[in-house]
Symmetry: C2
Subunit: 223 residues, 2 copies
Amino acid sequence: MEADTRSRILDAAESLFMEHGFDATTLRMITAEAHANLAAVNYHFGSKEALIEEVFRRRLTWLNEQRIAALDALEAEAQGAPLKPRQIVESFFGVAIRMAADSAGGRTFMRLLGRTYTEPSEFVRRFLAEEYAAVIARYKAAFFKALPDVPQEEFLWRFHFMMGAMSYAVSGADALRILGPIDDPDPEALYARLMSFLIGGLRAPLPEIHSKPARKPRSPRSA
Amino acid sequence: MEADTRSRILDAAESLFMEHGFDATTLRMITAEAHANLAAVNYHFGSKEALIEEVFRRRLTWLNEQRIAALDALEAEAQGAPLKPRQIVESFFGVAIRMAADSAGGRTFMRLLGRTYTEPSEFVRRFLAEEYAAVIARYKAAFFKALPDVPQEEFLWRFHFMMGAMSYAVSGADALRILGPIDDPDPEALYARLMSFLIGGLRAPLPEIHSKPARKPRSPRSA
DNA sequence: TCAGACTTAAAACATCTGTTTGAAACCATC
DNA sequence: GATGGTTTCAAACAGATGTTTTAAGTCTGA
């Protein structure tokens, strides 16, 4: 019934990081929830930083392997022809949404991951960049091939926007409470909704960019 | 040149919160950057929590007033007719993007705000919900009137996705580094890009949702 | 000018932080 | 049963944290 100490610590840390953030979560909170001794974190992982990295690694590696495998399958089937944008979007974000639908721990992890992209802490961002390097390169190439008429810079921003929408999608009802009461999402419906929105945004007409700066209202400096 | 202590503390706190997050930013870091005594924070604001709230309040109040004023103007001009979705989106997110374009402190603040929507800390979320209550109610009403064919729940999710995209848009190049090197955005170009994406997503075809009575996630086929 | 409020300053407060220590407990293998 | 490596445990560590205290400065208005 009880997993080993190492796994219990990872589960507790994942959940608590999600709930309180990295800095506000103390090792004492983690070890208490994991029914482990305080020293166990430093024994099994070496430091709190190393624990944070391991919390991400154990799921993120699998997640990105799934993404690459999905892209491999699509490209094999296409036999060198460009993929449809929708296929690429679905394979990248679909894997994530499916993981978020996993009640076990995937949901907690995806919500944690979503808010970590914009995490201030430098070492976390560097770590994420490394973990993502391979999969991002593959998907960038696939998108550029699928949308040759879209300038690269333009597309990168759209991809960035899509990540933002996805992040909020999995962060779910918590942040949505600002907008008012809403049902907890059925994963299938959430997936359909997000895909529809993402494809709509991705395929939107390219913006006309004027160089002339518009007048802006003055914001308050101090009060 | 030097503002008073209170303002210097607010500016320093805003910048440091943005860079390191709330918990990792200590009062000693803030007062050092503000060239103020450590006790000044508790003297002027009462506590660290109250300081955090004041950092948001001084700009957020103004921001949401601008939003309501923009909506007032649009609705006066329309004389009771529904607004165009694009107008509503532009007035809500345009104000924010314009504030983010302000080099003084608005940019720092908007980036801080963007990542705070998903902030774990309970008291911050409650505070934001209160600050947003009025403006959200107004915009919800305007959107429902402009898009009567879109179910309310559907729209709330799309609004949520839009907030996510906007949050990532202003968080900007930092998070984008994961995707690879990219120029720091010209505010006008960023505004045009985001608007194009948001409108595309908002106007996307409604997803076909195989309705929700299925409580079981991951059930591949059911009615 | 002097009193009284407001503001700054230095130091100390109790508490909490991540980490380390050294000994006990466990557990498979001989 | 003894051995040696692995894992747990309670206790302590040095340092940092938000907050409070007490005293000194600064400004304003009569």
